[in-house]
């Protein structure tokens, strides 16, 4: 099936903006319907079951794979022996690993709760990225390249699937980094409507992981009249000249903002949740409360039709104080994620919700100082759960010590191709024409890892 060309859609939309006598709500709905063309299964998928939404748990800083999900008995054995860098010494994980569930996946003792859900997880132990520097690797994880400004995967997913709830943003990022986070939610050349909406940032408390200004002090009717006036000026400006994607973005963002006022406050209000649910996520108190609430919020957003939710958690950059800091991070997310998987499962949402956990890279199995690990872009672990992923499965290997992907290396672009495939989208078909050529999330590369699909 050929996908509808965004360029044509924009053209017809501009005409509608100029000539239509119908209201803007109708307009935006048309846009959403046009987009939902992409939502139909792309045919090439190896599976009939597809995920309909994504929750990306983004672990900023580069979590150590050999201390969390990538069990390395050889590292225990070779503790203290020289590592690949001159003078470096291998360092065993301070934590023990055990097999869990029927699948027998290895999980570190840092994740006692999540370990109960081992049979839901699909681990890729052979992830790779190109540069062991945070900003570049983070941007690459999100957009596929750190060289150019490109849309983030959330924007592509929303573009591909369309919004399932016209009253909510289709892509939401909870507590992204305060600085440099724009590319993680950016739509680049895709229309601005595909950008992620940020809730708070990682420099702030959980209470601010919300949307201010949702409540209008005016009656809905008055506000609508004011908005019609604003939009009439925007429309007029749009009509003056071709090539004003910014103005189109403003127009769309006002319509969405207007509709969000009615639905968003309810979704953001965790007060509706029962004590049992809060407990399940560890959202009540203690070290799990902030991340627990974010996970709960994410579930509520997904439930209401948001296509792509991302939660950033940091900082996982343990050059020093690995023992304390890594343990603290794992404690903060273990119960919330376990609770989330359980909750999604019990609501029947897990089968069409794809949960992804990853950092921008991993860490070296050799020590930095005596209580730290350095960046490692040659091997890290990413896990998925839900949707049509092959549960209780582990793919690829990072060798004896976790230094470098040795078996089935998976560059980020292959993960992107696979992510889209799990959503029923052929990564080669999801294109957007910009400046004379068709662009893709995977650009000119990308291999779908059929092995990780059920």
């Amino acid at each position: 099936m050929s996908l509808c060309h965004q360029r044509q859609w924009l053209g017809s939309r501009r005409q509608m903006l100029q000539h239509s006598s119908l209201g803007f709500g109708w307009m935006a709905l048309q846009g959403l319907l046009a987009r939902s063309v992409h939502a139909a299964p792309a045919g090439q998928s190896s599976t009939s079951r597809t995920a309909k939404r994504v929750l990306f748990l983004c672990m900023r800083g580069g979590p150590s794979h050999v201390d969390t999900f990538d069990h390395k008995p050889s590292l225990d054995r070779d503790d203290g022996k020289s590592g690949p860098r001159p003078g470096s010494r291998l360092m065993r994980s301070p934590w023990s690993f055990q097999r869990h569930g029927d699948s027998g996946l290895w999980i570190s003792e840092l994740f006692p709760q999540l370990a109960h859900h081992a049979d839901k997880l699909c681990m890729i132990h052979s992830m790779q990225t190109d540069v062991p520097a945070h900003p570049q690797a983070m941007v690459r994880l999100h957009t596929g390249t750190s060289q150019f400004v490109r849309p983030s995967m959330g924007a592509w997913v929303l573009y591909g699937l369309g919004s399932a709830n016209e009253n909510l943003p289709g892509f939401v990022s909870i507590s992204p980094p305060a600085n440099g986070g724009a590319s993680m939610i950016g739509s680049a050349f895709l229309p601005a409507a595909y950008q992620g909406t940020r809730l708070g940032n990682d420099g702030r408390t959980f209470e601010s992981a919300t949307l201010p200004n949702l409540l209008s002090l005016r009656s809905r009717r008055t506000q609508r009249q004011q908005l019609d006036y604003i939009q009439s000026l925007n429309r007029q400006k749009l009509a003056q000249s071709e090539g004003q994607p910014e103005v189109e973005g403003v127009i769309e963002s006002y319509e969405l903002a207007f509709r969000m006022q009615s639905d968003m406050p309810k979704v953001l209000d965790l007060g509706q949740e029962t004590k049992t649910t809060l407990d399940r996520y560890g959202a009540d108190q203690g070290p799990t409360s902030a991340f627990g609430r974010k996970c709960l919020l994410a579930r509520r957003l997904l439930e209401e039709g948001v296509r792509f939710v991302e939660i950033t958690h940091g900082n996982w950059d343990q050059h020093q104080q690995l023992r304390n800091a890594l343990a603290g991070n794992c404690r903060a997310i273990d119960r919330p994620i376990a609770g989330l998987l359980e909750d999604l499962d019990s609501r029947g949402m897990l089968e069409d919700t794809l949960v992804v956990w990853s950092g921008e890279f991993g860490r070296t199995p050799y020590a930095q100082g005596n209580d730290g690990r350095d960046h490692n872009h040659k091997a890290f672990t990413l896990w998925m759960a839900g949707g049509p992923v092959r549960a209780g499965f582990s793919y690829g290997s990072s060798g004896d010590h976790g230094i470098e992907a040795t078996e089935n290396p998976v560059p980020v672009v292959d993960f992107h191709a696979t992510l889209l495939a799990l959503l029923g989208i052929d990564h080669e078909q999801l294109t957007y024409n910009h400046a004379g050529r068709d662009f893709r999330l995977t650009d000119v590369a990308g291999r779908v890892l059929k092995e990780v699909m059920a």
Partner: protein, 876 residues
């Protein structure tokens, strides 16, 4: 398909720049494509000799060497065979070209074109059991791929761009454009047919590129559009009524729009608002922030002095070279009087305001990180060069060795950074002093009664005595055989209280007068008193002026031999900038950065000015002119501007004036399909770019509509008034989150609090950076959060209401529809700098009918609506 991944050096440093060829390489490998790095393409015909090969694809050869060979040698061999490591085992050094050719005890390590005769190959192949390199204990045999790469390199002539010795490497080993000297003669502007189109030589360069690409520039912007554009570009404020009246008078007198426009530009340039707006641009470059950021975010209550210095310097037209010199070495320049000295001390705040991990437990690590941050900011801000990438290894892409880095690090490690944060509780392990400014300088604090000071001193004395006695008791007990090393919570609490009390006292003289304190730097002493030597140990060293050892892989525990302090060996004769043994070397570094030998500083500066006015740089990677950055769209224009800037006295205002009076600047933002096909990104400037106003300009424009008289806050900054303390922590000293998020006041946005990680809401919503890194280009998002802010925030409604009040005062009437035309015209002029169209008047009348009998409510709706339009925040 070859797998080169094994060859790549790992580098743990987080700031290594992106690079396009590296990505292309990986991509090529992933695709199994032969398009890149095939032997024939890169290295040329193996039978030709090295010099010929170098002549033909030197850039590719450099790239190959830098990406494949240097990392390999650095990773596997340097530790035992290089000057930086201080070891040349078997007499072999592999960190220079000559060293490799000459080889060690056993003969030449590399014979170009002849792998079989090269001892390097024999040793890495493990052919000879007595010669196996690298040895087992240093990682063992290389991968087959790595060995093949070395062989390929030798076979093709062993191209090695490194100089005769690692240290005396002459000039950049690369022909990358940004490292080339500026031409001796300014590039001649090309002749163009339509010479009347050109107002300035700038236009000839632009027009010539248009012609070459078959682009037809669009028409000029409408006068009112241009006037709004230039006012907002130069001052961050829309044109005022008075400005416009003045302009029309000029136009009548001078008889031409263009002449009046030029006169008006001068008027804008002379205004304080120009200095504020461009000062804010520089603050982005200087990664200005009012707190430490990082894990423990503690305020910098004195950072505002640096902010004000920047504004003053631009207002007083301090030449740009001097502007940079003062920021790097102001304290070392001769000052004619104490006010000069005060200013120059404050200027060095540039080096002190960076983010810091003040909870770092290892004091040596902290010092090295501090110097590293200063190196990173200094070189990126001035030269757009990522020198800090060479902290742990030679720069992977640019001609900066780890030794160069260490030579520069010595300069900063010989410098004491006075950044404050003396309080901050037990988590602050690295607080520092502040600079006491001489003479009478204004302070953000109120003076106190002398008795109060006396009381504070008493209390400090008591606290200190209590702590000392507790410590003495413990020492005594342990001496008697005890082994009590458990944490004593009282001692910990006292440490915090003492630090807080000291920090507070630091602000006042004995007579209660508030002291002028500033963030700054100064040279460390030449030697230490014996009593201070113990301190040195505690702080991890670097208490005096001296050289830095090279830290192997950047690890503090791995100090190797010391490297003499020096400016980077990139341009000019380093001897000219020889650093005396009794000075840190910041002065020499500053002189080198602005010297005529350094082509980057002027290029980087004019490119940023271009970006601030056109919304896109001639080089798009504003902060990275290294080999992983962009090529200029108009190389000759860039050089011509750089030369003019340098030779014209580094005059910022003159350069801005030239650019905004060029024809190119005055084009409309109109679309043209034919041009779009050829140059969709408008890199060749066939039209004006549509620019989103900065967050500050959006807020300031709104305040202007509301008729707020914008002034300078009396207390420097909200952060200054709150004093030392954590940012955003609830129920503690310092600043609460809402004090920052909701910060407002009758002053321009540059004066709002600017701590890291937490910004005033309107600034955050419209993408202001928080100053964690040098970031000259603003990110732009276009999201519903912004719409919600403009529709529903108290801020938007409050100021819209004030604007509406002004309109109703100008044209009174009881009903919303009274004096409709006059009121509407005012509303449009103030918000959009133009008159309403007939259809807009109809829509406005309709909107006003919502609240016929409450003119204020109705006109508030309308004014707010105008401030919420795309036209208000996007500049055509």
């Amino acid at each position: 398909m070859m797998d080169f991944q094994a060859d790549r050096i790992e580098h743990g440093h987080p700031r290594c720049g992106p690079n396009w060829w590296f990505a292309l390489l990986l991509f090529g490998l992933m695709m199994g494509s032969p398009m890149l790095w095939g032997q024939d393409r890169i290295l040329g015909d193996p039978s030709t000799d090295a010099s010929e090969t170098a002549m033909r694809g030197s850039q590719r050869n450099v790239n190959f060497f830098e990406s494949k060979i240097r990392p390999l040698l650095a990773k596997h061999c340097y530790e035992c065979h290089s000057e930086p490591a201080g070891k040349m085992e078997a007499g072999l050094r592999v960190d220079t070209a000559a060293g490799l050719r000459r080889g060690g005890a056993g003969g030449p390590a590399v014979v170009p074109g002849k792998p079989s005769q090269s001892r390097l190959m024999q040793s890495v192949r493990y052919d000879d059991p007595t010669l196996r390199m690298p040895p087992e204990e240093h990682g063992g045999k290389l991968s087959d791929e790595a060995i093949a790469t070395l062989e390929k390199w030798i076979l093709a002539g062993a191209f090695d761009p490194r100089g005769p010795t690692a240290w005396e490497e002459p000039t950049p080993a690369t022909d990358w454009w940004a490292f080339q000297p500026l031409p001796a003669n300014r590039p001649t502007p090309p002749q163009v047919e339509n010479s009347s189109w050109c107002y300035d030589p700038i236009d000839q360069f632009i027009a010539s590129a248009h012609r070459n690409k078959g682009l037809m520039p669009v028409a000029d912007a409408a006068p009112e559009t241009l006037m709004r554009r230039v006012a907002l570009d130069l001052t961050g404020l829309p044109p005022s009524e008075a400005d416009l009246r003045w302009f029309h008078q000029q136009q009548d007198q001078l008889g031409s729009f263009q002449k009046a426009y030029v006169a008006w530009v001068d008027r804008l340039l002379d205004s304080r608002d120009f200095a504020i707006h461009f000062g804010r641009h520089w603050l982005d470059v200087a990664r200005f922030g009012e707190s430490t950021g990082k894990e423990i975010n503690v305020s910098f209550p004195h950072a505002w002095r640096y902010r004000d210095w920047v504004i003053d310097a631009i207002d007083q037209e301090l030449p740009y070279d001097q502007f940079l010199r003062e920021q790097i070495a102001g304290d070392l320049l001769e000052s004619s009087d104490s006010s000069d000295q005060v200013r120059r001390t404050i200027a060095t705040g540039f080096l002190a305001i960076g983010p810091k991990s003040i909870n770092e437990p290892n004091p040596l690590q902290f010092q090295l990180d501090l110097a590293d941050e200063q190196i990173d900011a200094t070189f990126q801000a001035t030269m757009a060069l990522t020198v800090a990438c060479a902290r742990c290894h030679d720069h992977l892409f640019d001609p900066i060795t780890q030794r160069d880095y260490t030579a520069v690090a010595g300069i900063f490690l010989s410098t004491e950074t006075l950044f404050g944060t003396a309080s901050g509780g037990v988590n602050n392990r690295n607080g520092a002093k502040l600079a006491q400014l001489p003479g009478e300088v204004p302070s953000a604090l109120m003076d106190l009664d002398p008795e109060r000071i006396q009381g504070m001193k008493e209390r400090l004395k008591q606290l200190t005595e209590e702590r000392n006695s507790l410590i003495r008791q413990r020492i005594e007990a342990n001496r008697k055989g005890g082994d009590n090393n458990a944490v004593n919570p009282r001692i910990l609490a006292l440490a915090t209280e003492i630090a807080d009390a000291e920090a507070e006292l630091q602000n006042y003289r004995d007579d209660g007068k508030a002291v002028g304190l500033a963030m700054a730097v100064r040279d460390k002493p030449l030697s230490l008193r014996p009593i201070d030597r113990r301190l040195q140990q505690r702080r991890g060293g670097f208490e005096t002026i001296g050289e830095s050892p090279l830290f192997v892989r950047g690890e503090p525990a791995k100090a190797s031999d010391k490297v003499p302090r020096s400016v980077p060996r990139l341009f000019g004769d380093a001897k000219q900038y020889a650093i005396p043994s009794n000075a840190s070397g910041r002065l020499q570094l500053a002189d080198w950065i602005v010297s005529p030998d350094n082509p980057m500083t002027a290029r980087v500066a004019v490119n940023r000015i271009w970006y601030w006015l056109f919304g896109q740089g001639l080089v798009t990677s504003l902060d990275n002119f290294g080999m992983t950055g962009d090529h200029p769209s108009h190389p000759e224009l860039l050089d011509a501007l750089a030369i003019d800037f340098r030779d014209g006295g580094w005059n910022l205002k003159a350069m801005v004036r030239r650019i905004v009076t060029s024809h190119t600047y005055q084009l409309a933002a109109e679309h043209r399909a034919e041009n779009f096909q050829i140059d969709p990104d408008n890199r060749l400037l066939w039209r004006a770019n549509r620019k989103r106003l900065t967050a500050e300009a959006i807020r300031d424009s709104i305040l202007t509509v509301a008729g707020i008289q914008l002034r300078v806050p009396e207390n420097g900054s909200v952060v200054a008034a709150a004093g030392d303390g954590p940012i955003g922590a609830p129920r503690r000293a310092g600043l609460r989150e809402e004090q920052i998020v909701q910060a407002d006041g009758p002053f321009r946005s540059i004066y709002l609090p600017n701590p890291r990680g937490l910004l005033p809401e309107i600034l955050e919503v419209f993408d202001m950076p928080d100053g964690t890194i040098v970031q000259s280009a603003r990110e732009v998002t276009n999201v519903p959060t912004q719409s919600l802010f403009l529709l529903n925030s108290r801020f938007a409604i409050r100021y819209a209401k004030k604007g509406a009040q002004r309109i109703l005062e100008a044209f009174p009437g009881d009903r919303a529809a009274d004096a409709f035309g006059e009121r509407l015209e005012l509303a449009y002029r103030w918000t959009l700098s133009r008159r309403p169209t007939a259809s807009e008047a109809r829509s406005a009348r309709e909107l006003l009918s919502t609240d016929r009998d409450d003119p204020l409510a109705a006109w508030t709706l309308l004014v707010q609506g105008l401030m919420a339009t795309a036209e208000f925040r996007y500049l055509d």
